[in-house]
């Protein structure tokens, strides 16, 4: 028996719940998109009705179903220069502010996680080299971490498909990659510029030594965590950052659903979160 269509009231009920949990607001025009995925999950979980499914969604302590659903509701491809406006923000606003106040000559430190197959970390590296004048004055260390060792191996290898590189300007593609048949191989200079490490963000012993960062990129990871884990992650990042350091989340993520530790900052390219300069 096919699942009944989602009623208007049920859609509104779900929409409010999802907005409360994630900050993502569905407009009425997204009705078809949302209903389709809800029905998919109602069937996958053998819930029978929206009502039963909603109960599961609301009360599951692991938050697993909400995560699966969130995954379906959000777009999560990884590719070079994804959410480029944040890299622009990095070079146009964040790094200039940090360097203006920096009192020492130690390298700037950037942490990117999850590394996934490395596109984000290498994107940051390219952006700094190509678009940040300050790279001629400052050393920058880029560390990129993930819990999954096989994906880390992929990242270190630096071999990519058409899909990954499609948003890169041709000039950068030619400069930093070698085209080998179907693959694009990132050059050794960039591969050597990023440190890929294995880290379980939820494990205190793993993250303890991650300190003194100026910028952390944690995009499209926390949205898949349950409430408590998200909070722990935000807490961990707080102590990983220098006072005045910045945290960048994914475009549909917000600290409003996670933690009050950070100050919201708006730059022309992006909204980001800052650890107070006076924080001890």
């Amino acid at each position: 028996m096919a699942t009944k269509p989602i009623s208007q009231e049920d859609f509104l009920k779900f929409r409010e719940f999802f907005y409360r949990k994630t900050g993502i607001q569905f407009e009425d025009s997204k009705r078809y998109f949302v209903d389709k995925r809800l029905i998919e999950r109602i069937e996958a979980t053998d819930s029978g009705t929206f009502r039963n499914y909603f109960i599961t969604l609301r009360f599951e302590t692991t938050g697993e179903e909400l995560q699966i659903l969130t995954n379906l509701m959000t777009v999560n491809e990884t590719y070079f220069f994804r959410e480029e406006y944040q890299f622009k923000c990095l070079v146009n606003s964040i790094l200039p502010e940090i360097t203006a106040q920096k009192k020492d000559n130690r390298p700037l430190r950037i942490w990117s996680m999850p590394s996934s197959s490395g596109e984000e970390a290498y994107s940051i590296a390219m952006y700094l080299l190509e678009y940040w004048p300050g790279i001629s004055q400052w050393d920058v260390e880029i560390i990129s971490s993930d819990i999954d060792t096989s994906i880390l191996a992929k990242a270190r290898l630096g071999k990519y498909s058409d899909r990954s590189i499609q948003h890169l300007p041709k000039s950068l593609l030619n400069k930093y990659f070698r085209h080998n048949g179907d693959d694009y191989q990132i050059c050794d200079d960039l591969r050597n510029a990023v440190e890929f490490t294995r880290v379980n963000l939820m494990k205190a012993s793993d993250v303890r030594s991650y300190r003194d960062f100026d910028v952390i990129f944690c995009r499209n990871l926390l949205i898949y965590f349950d409430d408590l884990s998200r909070r722990q992650a935000a807490d961990t990042f707080f102590d990983a950052l220098n006072p005045g350091g910045f945290l960048c989340l994914g475009h549909s993520e917000s600290m409003s659903r996670i933690s009050s530790l950070y100050q919201v900052r708006k730059f022309s390219d992006s909204v980001v979160y800052q650890k107070s300069k006076g924080a001890q």
Binding site: E16, I258, S260, V264
Partner: protein, 123 residues
């Protein structure tokens, strides 16, 4: 069209305010707590705020103080709470609110006070 931001974690309360305010011709946006309210305010400032006190992550008093300390357009704010004690009223004003109402707020009470804060003539 004047833009009003409703800052309250209770969805039904936001709907209630929205129905009253949209009915009176205002453009309405919502936030569930002070952090979201600040994010939205930084994107484009509002003409008026309606701010609940008790919200998770960042409460109303804290949001008001922060809003008043920021270099953005300082719109008037109506603070709403369950507390009727004088000390809470004083706190609200000290944080930077312009008016303090005790909930539940009746429609005409809401509209009259919004118009007052927006500098509009009462109709």
């Amino acid at each position: 069209m004047k833009r009003i931001l409703i800052v309250d974690d209770a969805a039904t309360m936001r709907m209630y305010y929205r129905s009253i305010l949209e009915g009176a011709g205002y453009q309405v946006d919502e936030a569930v707590n002070g952090i979201e309210a600040m994010e939205k305010s930084l994107e484009e400032p509002f003409d008026l705020y309606i701010v609940d006190v008790n919200m998770p992550k960042q409460d109303g008093y804290s949001f008001m103080s922060e809003l008043r300390s920021r270099d953005i357009f300082q719109a008037p704010a109506l603070m709403v709470s369950t507390e009727a004690a004088a000390s809470d009223r004083t706190r609200a004003y000290a944080a930077g609110a312009n008016l303090y109402l005790v909930k539940p707020v009746k429609p005409d009470e809401l509209l009259t006070n919004c118009r007052l804060l927006l500098g509009e003539v009462n109709q």
